[in-house]
Amino acid sequence: MNDQDSLPVLVVGAGVSGITAALEAAETGASVVLVERQPYVGGRVAGFYHYFPKMCPPSCGLEINVQRLERNPRVRVLTETRVSAAEQVDGGWRVTLERAPAYVTEACTGCGECSKVCPVSVVDEFNHGMSSSPAIRLSHPQAWPQRFVIERAACADGCEACVQSCAYDAIHLDATVTTEELQVGSVVLATGWQPYPLEKLSELGGGVLPDVISNVQMERLASPSGPTAGQILCPSTGQPPRRVAFVQCAGSRDVNHLPYCSGICCLASLKHAQYVKDQHPDTEVSIFYIDRRTPGRNEDVLTRIGDMDGVRLVKGKVGKVEAGDGGLVLTVEDVEAGRKLHEQADLVVLATGMVPTGNGESPFGIARDEDGFALDDFDRGLVVAGVARRPTDVAAAVRDATGSAARALAAAERGA
């Protein structure tokens, strides 16, 4: 079995898939290096309010995983790090890790004094641009590592307010990029996904109409740590919506956008319907769909939420969203039935799909399918996990990531 004398497994990406692959490999006894571009682990789901089908917070599972990371001596976690180069060598890979300047070092205690004195306000990307934060901040209240991060480019010239406020000499504004070379036995690519950009869906009002939001923005709106402290409100008015419309397959199953099905959006919208109904029981919710894709036991979600009072599922593809007199107007076509509907809403949620991260820029020269999803290359010790391989929900990503850890260890075993 792989042990500490063997070369480590490199896991690229610390979303749920990457964390899982790293921990599951490490708990067999292997040593693991887990690298993440963001300053925090957890990836996409760190910003989500609830998981379907249980309607439970993602942070609950992340907590256990973070505690496993905190306590496992065999995993080294490097945030704000990317793989800048990789070369195949005997028995594995030699990789170059590029670490962002450590403006805030590990000496940071997380006390938060720097944030209090920072004079600069920046757009908060964690909240998908729906709020602002000081340039130096903790990415979100439950972020791990609990280390502050600075958006250096936003700093005012010569400002050193944070440096002076820090009692622990943890802030170094002159830090530079550092690199590290490392030899690893095999690699798990768990690079995850990006939401399909709203701006590409302008016919649906994406990026044009303020009350047209994406499903990932909905997650932040519903989260207690989000821009509205968990209140679902129309961005333009700050008022609760009376009618909410969900546009399924917004950019998915569409030859003009993504030809594939993103697999999770039906369930996400049903879950969001429950968010809305929990807060605003009288609000009318409509979900416009092509097929209701809730496979396996997730059918329960469709049964439970689809049957709620004031939740309507309507077969039809939304072709257009426009501003009208009484709010937003949706044009819905049901080609098979040969009908066209006009529907109104105050808030439109586009169920945007998942785009695999980093298509075309892998230092490992990983092969991808036509849609940009990465393919295992077992012979070269490259294994893919989670949404980098295929659009999946969290449960499937975790399952796949556990298997990926096994394949990576088996590849290393064979290569060694």
């Binding site: 079995m1 599951e24 490999a25 708990e27 067999t28 309010y49 998981y51 249980k54 309607m55 439970c56 917070p57 942070s59 609950c60 599972g61 992340l62 907590e63 256990i64 496993r68 905190e70 306590r71 001596p73 205690t109 006390c111 903790l138 209240p141 439950q142 009692a167 622990y168 207690p224 968990g230 030809p259 594939y260 099905c261 993103s262 697999g263 097929d291 894709r293 809730t294 396996g296 036991r297 059918e299 329960d300 049964t303 098979e336 399918d369 036509e370 849609d371 295929r390 659009p391 449960a395 499937a396 975790v398 399952r399 796949d400 990531a401 556990t402 298997g403 096994a406 260890l409 088996a410």
Partner: protein, 749 residues
Amino acid sequence: MEHVGVFLCSGCGIGDALDLEAVASAAEDSGGALCHTHPCLCAEEGIALVRESLSSGEADGLVIAACSQRVKCKAFSFDSATPVQRVGLREQVTWSHPPNDEDTQMLAEDLVRMGVARVLKSKPPVRQEEEIADTVLVVGGGLTGLEAAAAAAGLGKPVVLLEKEAELGGHLAGIGELAPAGPPYDQLHENPVSNLIEQVRSNSRIRVLTSAVLRGISGQPGQFKVEVAAGGGDETFMAGAIVQATGARPYDAHRLAHLGYGEQADVITSAELDAMLEAGSLTRPSNGETPQRVAFVQCAGSRDAEHLLYCSGECCATTLRQAARLRRDYPDVEPCVVYRDIRMPGQQERFYLAVQEEGGTLLMRGEVDGVGGNGNGRLAVHLRESLLGDDARLEADLVVLAVGMVPNSADGEAIRALHDAQQRVEHGESETQREEARKVAERLAAHEGTEILHLGYRQGPDLPVLQYGFPDSHYICFPYETRRTGIYSAGALRAPMDPAQAVEDAWGAALKAVQCIEAARRGEAVHPRSGDLGAPDFFLQRCTQCKRCTEECPFGTLNEDEKGTPQLNVLRCRRCGICMGACPERIISFPDYSVDAVASMIKAIEVPEEEDEKPRIVALMCENDALPALDAAARLGRTWSPWIRIVPVRCLGSVNIVWIADSLSRGVDGVILVGCKYGDDAQCHYIRGSELASKRLENVQETLDRLALEPERIKLVELAHNEFDRVPTILDEFAAEIEEMDPNPYKGF
């Protein structure tokens, strides 16, 4: 431990808000052997100070009074023999309470006293050295089992693969092509099963036993004793961990008489169509002619309140595969698919597109409410809510029911309940009891003889099943976290899934099996307290055979002897402490977590006199969800009542009622338990810890009666990890309720 080193951090504003000299005196007065204060304990110098106290032998246990136990864990972990108690002065005291305030100071001093008390009662873990078997047992030789065997062998383990049939391959054996599982995702691909069988058969690490009968499995992870009859003889071998891959079977189509199965000769199932396609003879069973139109009825028995509520997940792909095959092999045949929703998630959508683009396959949305004869020798499929109108009829020569999948599982807990009831029918103490038992036995009769694994476990011979018969833990984050340590279900047994997913699942389950073996070898617990070396200890001389521990352990750790005395299988233990919470005799303890240690923490709280008007409240909080929520609230600047003394617990299920009695009899005014949500969608990592706690609280009423105290002094609240906006309010509201009441009359006793 005897020499408790107490280290106070004055950083992060702690020193500005508290009189740390007074805190240090409190630590020393309560039994701390030494106490140092440092301006930044987590920095190198601070850590060096702590290390020095250990290496010099001045301290053998530590209290780190600084930030929360959830942060800087690596910095503050020393060696596994040294118990460390973290006291969250930053989050629980100075961030959340007014600085330089009498009540804030008292809170800090109490928390440090509590930390010292706990370490004084802690012991270093005793490392378990056991002989561990390396073999992975895989039960079931279908696609999942074959793949799991190959995976475990690929990870360097010897494998025994058991298959009850004479041949390997399961229900996919004999099918030539499957729906696409790789790019370009638009055409059929060769079924991998036959190659896989060859690969497994030729792998020197894998021993295959076909026509095998599993007689029994006893023991624990690392030491499972497996008894098998195969090849005409019986044999026994040791296995370290088990993958159960017994698959699924098609839903019994005879129950679908309304869809014509069994009534109309030309109504068949997907599996029967596969057999025809592989035999190269697509014919109507009624007359042997080649059909013109083949109608597929989707969701036959799935997504149906009368049959299977769930979606079987793979039938859409199976039907489209069969339609594509028909189009290729029988160009004159017209396939027609009647569906409610076509479910081809991910890149599978490309195959659906390919079938549509190829043309020739009619796709019709609608609900089928019946299939019958059409009078002209053909069949009629009756549709409701279809696009063609309210009531439509589709003629076909052959109707294929895309029946769903049912897991090949056995409900271990139901089997156990059945056997218990049968015992009571024979030996019940009263006629009423025997009659009750008869009813139970009747209700569970269908479980008789359904055993698969034949586990020698007190809680039943098979994995517990959850919804719909799937032996899954129903966890999203930890899908392999089963309730029987070292036994992992995989493939269509565990959840509805297609062959590609089953392959991934097999690898995952194989990894978990290997991991469990390695953890057993290191003497460590597996998930979620992975790495924990502290095994439970049972002081059996005082056991009264009440069986609460053996019944309530969520992981089936404990067996019983004839008298009902628990028999510990330590390698099954997950260290949740639920047994410790259950035990009325308080004889179960962990080296660093025991009834006595927490009781000592409670005793360390200084309870002011009644006239001081400073109530005291003990909050027993789950360290996995409630405590993190509290930490986040503190970070966001929320405050709460200074009367509260937090005691983090591993799980609310580990809370022993005596802690509540101890609190109240010492004059503490109220006790609040904050833990995970329970019920159908339980969020407890130990499945039902918080639920058990709520049940046990019902029994506390007795204690309250005895002490003549109000029932409202005890409260249990469910809280999710992200409800940090709620937790201060919960604590404040409880404090307000307590203030409304008279002080606890036991103060000063």
